[in-house]
Amino acid sequence: MKAKKGQVRVITGNAVGAYGAMICRPEVVAAYPITPQSELAEQLAQFVANGVLDAEYVEVEGENSAMNVVLAASIAGARTFTATSSYGLVFMYDALQETASFRAPVVMVDANRETPGIHAVSSGQQDMISARDTGWVQIVVENDQEILDQIIMAYRLAEDYDIQLPVMVNYDGFYLSYLAEAVEIPPIEDVDTFLAPLKQQPGRQKLVPGVSIGCGTHGMEMGYVEARYKHCMALERVKNKVDEIDKAFGDYFGRYYGGQIEEYRTEDAEIIVLASGSAAGTVRTVVDTKREEGVKVGMVKLRLFRPFPAERLIKALKGKKAIGVIDRSLCFGWKYGPICMELKTLAVNIGAIPILSYIDGLANLDVNVPHIERVINEVNAAAQGKPYQEVTWIPMEE
């Protein structure tokens, strides 16, 4: 069975986020506006005001409350949605941890932006990276269509009985939040059909008044350990589930994204560039030009950041001669970028090959074609046994 052709609209990433949420029919929505996400919060409020979206929209007084509202509503049984960015995500920090530990299937959009301290109102992945140990599932997307599709897939993942975890859909603030692209919005009935299997599963436990039930209470010693163990096991199950849902989504809507990672011209590649988010689009273009020059290069786009798709990465990278990793955030206290650092933990499985860390695209600095050409040239040289620099801050060397 195939979905009907949807309506094509040219809209910004933020508007896509709002449409994506709307067609999944959330029952409780709470959001606090923040640059570069504000348009999304406004658009959802407008949907409710126009009667297109039948949801409780809570205009909270801060992001921390936004997360608490959707967390509790989710535990009561609601389908929920929220969206934030940067400082907002940081302000949610305690509630983020509670939401994951409560196993509340909240779906949140995060328009990636740099974090507090240096007041950068600009794109970067530092917010998402800094929230990686909160227990959430974190997925990064590349373009506007993928924002929409991934939100639909996120509900299918979060509310899966075997998962029951909150999912954060990340897209690049500024680059995607304000970029208008043509996006196909599927008919809402088809989204209903795609999410229908969730209704066939056993009901999850809900907080109901009049029933003796506690939520988020003290878990000491073994109580704590057992809950954490189950949480970690659920995160492990997320990996295959992401691939399965991607396949089901592609079979029905006709668009596949590769699941945990997308591999582009990797099969016969000798060297790989690992990227994520909107930068992956540019990498794909440069890979094509370099291929024409005879460089056997491919790209791996990291879609799933938490849980870290170790098995898929090992499979894709084993036997390659060198890898360049582009990080758009920092790992304070480690010289490599965060994604590179995590990839290095797989070195024993991938093989003792050069893994070059590139810090680029911080605070709205473009990861542009010359940068990526430079990455490919250097990784290629390293693959041929030439000496290389382990970590390169590209903007500092220009």
Partner: protein, 308 residues
């Protein structure tokens, strides 16, 4: 001498539910919080959800692992999320037609300090929740540190008395008044020495929460932190009312009025002598405290008079 027949308390008339708590719960001896926690569901009915925090109520409400000392639906929260969690619950219950009373139950530390922002936010949005603050004038569960509800001159572990220190140097935040300024559907102060008054207010709260936000501020002396004898806590409540230190008032639809008026208020020393947190105060310190109490009472009274 003829012994007077003791009048049977009419407070039982307000009960609609049996006790929801187990006997022998893990609160300190003489703590009014236990009586308050037992009292609230008896009047509101068990079809409720408590939302609470780490704090004095936590050992009993949270329980340990799978066991708690009560039969109620309960959601634990960090300090900053209580009214927002209650918002999420009540919005969804209302949407699906689930009958429920959502009750936030926190100490003054959460309500006046770290959890104030969402409290103010929920009150302004007029969410249909009841927020009950048990006010023991400090962070008592962590060992008697000052909060913004700690009164002028009080000795706590973070406003200690020493060679220079003379206890807290500022007056407490008047949270009931702050909440009145949010124009809730209903707000009231209450304490355990005036149980029938408390019960009436809970009953009104249950009715008024159908229209919007309800705030209840319950004076709750801490035998350990305030250093009072554990058999004296109700007496402390009574004298707090009789000295106008803790006036009993309410506001229905934004109109404040006293529910208990004291004809001849006692001097503040009648209250301070019952505990040791003020024992370092000399005449001038006590006079300052008296002045702060009088000022506060006059402000509330002027508001009540304005709506007479």
């Amino acid at each position: 001498m003829v012994e007077k027949t003791k009048k049977k308390s009419r407070v039982f008339n307000y009960f609609c539910e049996e006790d929801q708590f187990a006997g022998g719960v893990a609160w300190c001896s003489g703590c009014p919080l236990e009586l308050t926690a037992r009292f609230v569901p008896k009047v509101l009915g068990k079809n409720m959800v408590f939302v609470g925090t780490p704090g004095c109520a936590a050992p009993v409400l949270h329980g340990q692992n799978v066991g708690a000392w009560h039969r109620l639906a309960y959601m634990a929260s960090v300090m900053t999320g209580v009214p927002s969690k209650a918002t999420g619950l009540t919005r969804y219950y209302n949407r699906i037609g689930q009958d429920a009373t959502v009750v936030c139950f926190t100490g003054d530390g959460c309500a006046t300090d770290v959890g104030f922002q969402p409290l103010s936010g929920a009150a302004e949005r007029n969410e249909k929740i009841i927020y009950i603050t048990y006010d023991n004038e400090g962070y008592m569960n962590t060992g008697n540190q000052r909060s913004s509800a700690t009164p002028l001159g009080a000795a706590t572990t973070t406003t200690p008395v020493g060679k220079i220190g003379r206890g807290k140097t500022t007056v407490s935040k008047n949270l009931p008044l702050v909440m009145l300024m949010h124009r809730p559907a209903y707000m009231a102060t209450a304490t355990l020495s005036h149980l029938e008054d408390f019960a009436k207010k809970l009953q009104k709260a249950k009715e008024k929460v159908k229209k919007g936000f309800v705030y209840l501020h319950v004076f709750s002396p801490c035998p350990v932190g305030w250093r009072i004898n554990s058999n004296m806590s109700i007496e402390v409540c009574r004298n707090a009312v009789r000295t106008n230190y803790f006036p009993l008032w309410e506001a229905e639809d934004g109109k404040p009025r006293f529910t208990v008026e004291i004809a001849n208020p006692k001097p503040i020393t009648e209250l301070t002598k019952l505990m040791r947190k003020f024992s370092h105060l000399k005449e001038d310190g006590l006079a300052e405290l008296q002045k702060a109490v009088d000022e506060r009472y006059a402000l509330v009274k002027s508001l009540c008079d304005a709506y007479k």
